[in-house]
């Protein structure tokens, strides 16, 4: 069964304190791994797609990396506006129309 596990569940950082979020996955065949940001009461906002081990994507203070079993979302010098829940999702290669399997998310709080 396809599965996505994210850790930690919650992370509190001081502004400027860099850290990483983890996403471990189990799928029969990975088509893609996705990172989304979700603010309270809002829909997930797309951040990155990663397809193969070794791939990296960057956007402002965020960098996503992928291995064969996990992905990391690195946050460099975070600011309070980076506070949100970060969701990881996978798409099974064998899934017909690309439904996403989500993890529970990591709730990030950045204090000034």
């Amino acid at each position: 069964e396809d599965q996505v596990t994210q850790s930690p569940e919650a992370l509190r950082l001081q502004e400027g304190e860099s850290s990483s979020l983890n996403c471990s996955y189990t799928v029969s065949g990975l088509r893609g791994l996705f990172w989304y940001r979700q603010d309270p009461g809002k829909g997930p906002e797309f951040l990155f797609t990663l397809y193969s081990a070794g791939e990296e994507k960057e956007k402002e203070r965020l960098k996503a990396t992928l291995t064969k079993k996990e992905s990391f979302l690195h946050i460099t010098a975070p600011k309070p506006e980076d506070s949100a829940t970060y969701l990881c999702a996978v798409q099974d290669r064998w899934g017909s129309q690309g439904n996403l399997i989500f993890g529970k998310g990591t709730k990030l709080s950045v204090k000034p």
Binding site: G32, G43, F46, L87, G98, L100
Partner: protein
Amino acid sequence: EPEVTQTPSHQVTQMGQEVILRCVPISNHLYFYWYRQILGQKVEFLVSFYNNEISEKSEIFDDQFSVERPDGSNFTLKIRSTKLEDSAMYFCASKPGQGTDEQYFGPGTRLTVT
């Protein structure tokens, strides 16, 4: 920037009543999805829709649920007889087409069943 829109933002209904949740996907997108998120839990896939038919559905999407694209812009989710456990945020998502995997989500409809 184009975005997925959903109405209403919040729907309160009594158990056993029918509800219709509405979505306007991004124009020129071809694939449409419904997901739900029970408070404090994961976002869960319900159904995908392409070329005017359901292409995949989860175990959650039983006979009480149906989807429709009644015109060229709207995409609806109907729950025929709501249960307390249907209370959740319902998200619509869309993606452009083959070769593009990113799904773009709407802001959600919070459904409260009393």
